[in-house]
Symmetry: C2
Subunit: 193 residues, 2 copies
DNA sequence: GTCTATAACATGATAGAC
DNA sequence: GTCTATCATGTTATAGAC
């Protein structure tokens, strides 16, 4: 991929993930790029095409392999903690990823949702699915995976909200403490912390 | 409140919660209302004012009293289950509520987030906070409450996504089974189901 | 690969009739 | 309380020069 095109995808992903499809104009993207709006059409035929390309681009960055380091560990609880830390770090590292996911969950049509399902979870889904079979055999594994996703996505996004809540904690929550909290809750529930 | 104005707030809330502020035009709202765009300005001075009024309107519907029926129950676990069912039902009943919450979490500025914090959780926060003190004394109660919020919001929103995931369950998830899943997970973790 | 210029249309908002 | 008409601006997209 050419350098300009990749930068364009990055700028577009930044803006779209933060302000949504309708909230970002081609001029906004062009301004951030330092070019004129018309120049974008040399790289992509339409705003729609640019959006889809940017979303795909962000998702492709997250199909890393996490299962290699995991497969050697026997204890499923330990493997879970590793996966949760990996998920949190991946989502923390690229806010665009989790925001596009949440955004598409809100307004995505069936077609986009199917694409999301295929792309967003690929790196984590299969190892997680297998893991759930070990941790809680016979249970609804998909429900558990969606629970885990809900916990991680929401905690990261809610850090902006937390200071405004009634009994706000003094310092802000660090990533490792979040990982410990989620792992603990997911494994043993609220009664064990 | 006049009848037309209330209907206007409802239509606006429907559209804004589904497509976001930038994704909805005054003409979209007018079309749904069966009036012209200019007529809206008789009721609200600007798009911004209408949006804020619609959001406030939706939130005000959800400051119901749930604590009355709860205070008589001694067992904290039982009270938790009641609260979770109440949360799920409230959010299921009005998708606009949870979507506006998630939307503002994504793009809300500090001012709006503060307003959200004040309004979105008012009905549930205090009883939940107290409950956490009984269920897990000494723990970070706010983290637990945000966990619970993440679970409920995400599960409800992800029901559109679930059928597209790799190992999708056959039937769709019912509200009572969701409530049972979340309560169980939150109380005892994945290992107990 | 980027520019200027422009077409064709959508948008938020106002003025004034009824 | 709603209408028509209109304004100023912003929008996606195209044409053609460099």
């Amino acid at each position: 991929m050419e350098q300009t095109e990749e930068r364009l995808l990055n700028v577009a992903a930044d803006l779209f993930s933060a302000q949504g499809y309708a909230g970002v104009s081609m001029r906004d993207i062009a301004r951030e790029m330092g070019i004129t709006q018309a120049a974008i059409y040399h790289h992509f035929p339409s705003k729609d095409a640019l959006y889809i390309a940017a979303v795909t681009y962000v998702f492709e960055q997250h199909t890393l392999e996490v299962s290699d380091q995991m497969s050697v560990i026997d204890d499923p609880s330990q493997r879970l903690e590793l996966l949760i830390v990996a998920m949190l770090e991946a989502m923390e590292e690229d806010p665009r990823f989790r925001r596009i996911y949440l955004r598409e969950l809100l307004e995505g049509d069936e077609l986009k949702l199917a694409a999301i399902a295929e792309n967003a979870f690929t790196a984590f889904y299969e190892p997680l699915y297998e893991l759930m079979g070990e941790l809680a055999p016979g249970s609804d594994r998909q429900l558990h995976i969606l629970s885990l996703a809900g916990l991680t996505f929401h905690h990261l996004e809610a850090r902006k909200l937390a200071p405004h809540l009634p009994h706000a904690a003094k310092g802000k929550t660090t990533l490792p403490s979040l990982a410990r909290h989620i792992t603990n809750l997911f494994l043993h529930g609220v009664t064990s912390s």
